[in-house]
Amino acid sequence: MTDTHIAAAEGSLPIVIVGHVDHGKSTLIGRLLIDTGALPEGKLESVKAMARRRRMPFEWSFVMDAFQAERDQGITIDTTRIAFQSEQRRYVIIDAPGHKEFLKNMITGAASAEAALLVVDAEEGVQEQTRRHAYLLNLLGVDQVAVIVNKMDLIGHDQDRFRDIEQQIRTYLTEIGIAPSAVIPISARHGDMIAQRAQALDWFDGPTVLEALDGFEPRNATKAQQLRLPIQDVYKFDHRRLFAGRIESGRLTVGDTLTFAPDGKTGQVASIESWNTPAPQISAVAGQSVAITLRDDVFIERGALAHHQGTAPRTSNRLYVRLFWLGADALSVGETLRLKIGTNSREVQVQRIDRVIDVESLQGLESDQVPRNGVAEVELASRDPIAFDEYDKHPKTGRGVLIKDYDIVAGCIVLPGALGQNHASSATKNIFLTPNRVDGAVRAEKNGHRGGVIWLTGLSGAGKTTLAMALEAILFDQGYQVVVLDGDNLRHGLNGDLGFSAAERTENIRRTAEVARLFQDAGTIAIVSLISPTRDDRDKARDIVGPSFHEVHVHADLSVCEGRDPKGLYAKARSGALPNFTGVDAPYEAPTKPELHIDTGGETVDQSLQRLLTFVENNFSKSRTARRGAA
């Protein structure tokens, strides 16, 4: 292998430089280019000559400002890309504009970066766009960040002031889930701490900017292992029908049986076609654009999401997403947009704006509108089921864009609390969700509290029904809209056709969750009292209900419950007359992270009730809901 092959094999690391307007991003870049010898010959001279002609003092940032308009206004309008290299590797810098008006350009630039430098002015400290950019970096999935505190010369290279700013930014970044690799004091104008250390900053023993850059890792293409192949197009140039698309995660091998979500059609891979490759391909990996043929004659269109059996994506017509809104007009409940995830595009309606996130304070605020450049958590509903993943598990198939008329107006990531049932069947395919004209916000306003679900899970005899009935009575007296859905009671009617096999228990829980959701949508607090022994079933219930699902573990030791045995069921189970009884011959999986844990073995009924009442007050009462912070 020759040297050039080694160089080619390395690729270059795209980095983005973000921060508040005028905090010195372009100057930093100009200086990086000079100090690493990256500028084409004559470029610096021609820019200096230009400045002289225009009778402007030379600024390092002119090097980057190729547009006349930018020079006139002194603002970077769009992203610019330029390459340089350290002794370690090649880089492509994406210079993203700091001005608020150009947020969509900042996003366009930052989304393609694998690491970021966040520039903060030492004099001005952390500003609105510093926080907004940091928040968006996190949302865009850029998690390698170093903070650059620029213009140290203007504060006399003061170590204490630097430490204050460092503390300020570290606190904010920690809250949003970014751990900066370094916070570096620099003076870009003088080239201090960019490629070389500086006398004036000799108290700082951390890395230079270039050293911090060399410390970043190329982002692994994907952590997800499961196959996801969104079908991009179907071709028939000759007798073969070719299904084209790019593998977003996992691996595909000839002979694999693929399932195509959301319809659930299946087909076996006959071949992976290619042109001008040395040998026929038998398998393909994440990142590859492929064209496959199938053994079977299956009708599949653009938008289908191919996966292996047993590792299906979610399929639902409700999604819960965190979005950043770029539209010129505010986003409102009831608005119809198109959601594009991978290659699939579907009309969706905004069912609910759960909260608008103030990126300065990180507070979640109730609002029925998302302003331009705002971040919010929103529930979307579509007529047809959509196949998608949760962003945390499969980033590439767990994020998308929203389109209004002809324009991309938002980016969004799918949150784990996504709503709706997983349908393997297409039974509900043609049933469109018509939004109610009286929505949750209006009901909450009138009732003085939100609708929601309190899901009491625990062993038989732990005290679920006792607590549910007592809580209902007290809340009703206090003016709450409240109802108890008791497992035993529901089995007399709605669930009367179901027994106690695992499958029937699952269906019992699904129906109960759907009913609870209807009550919630009607503005009521539904208190569900149901053993619901498996985590899986309770997670499905949470998916159906959405973010206002509150799991409460009503706990007492098996011996305590068996001692109470109010209905004589444990005795029957022990005698063998009642098979599949939870705790006796069927397992109970305790919640790992319930919203509330109540130990009825260790506290009185009144104590338990008091805790439940406080819980309701904190989570549902209108006067308190605005307090909820960011996730």
Partner: protein, 268 residues
Amino acid sequence: MGTLTDPLDLLESESIYILREAYGRIAPLGMLWSLGKDSNVMVWLARKAFLGHVPFPVIHVDTGKKFPEMYAFRERYAKEWGLDLLTGECPPVDEMDPSLPPAARSAARKTAGLKTLIESYGFAGVIAGIRRDEEAVRAKERVFSPRGGDSRWNLRDQPPEFWDQFKTDFAPGTHIRVHPLLHWTEVDIWRYIRRENIPIVDLYYAKNGMRYRSLGDQDITHPVPSDAATIDDVIAELETTRTAERTGRAMDHEAEDVFERLRSSGYM
């Protein structure tokens, strides 16, 4: 569990993805074929994307002033690669904006020729082989770049583009430029030409100490000093050079905003 890691494989895969998006979303569609190294790579990538086919016309806007080697190349490979070749002529230079400097004015003929061709065939979009690293103004481009009715590029208000979600919905009458090589660099192009053995005009190789790094019209393109006589030499040269690729293009150096003016009005 593997993922694609070779940089050329990644570049190729991204370009194939873009070409397939363009073919699926825009009709009628054409591809500009300038006969230069980048556009040969682009035609090659189309054959990769569509399994040996180029399922749309390739367009050569003929200024009538290309090098003879380039015309010979066009005739040979249009046939060999099975291309549906469209050629269009350019209006004379005296019809161009007289406020432009001379070489830029000459280059503007190509824009005018392209506009005529787009109108007569009714192309909704054309694919062009520009790269971000070529020139500062091109660095600001989008992969899917909408133009107004008169092919104008509004660089002050470009659509957002992230996570490979391109703007593929357009109001009637919008013309789209698609740029599948935007993310490539000059040396990437050469490494890919070497790996895939893609034919190119031999004007790119040094003769008598000079070679062309970029090919335009004969009268406004100049060779640069170089001893790079083979593809390996060229790659080695590019890995160390600090001279800009378009150094030999006269119009880029006439005034600092000339390239921006040309592109705003529809130049590639």
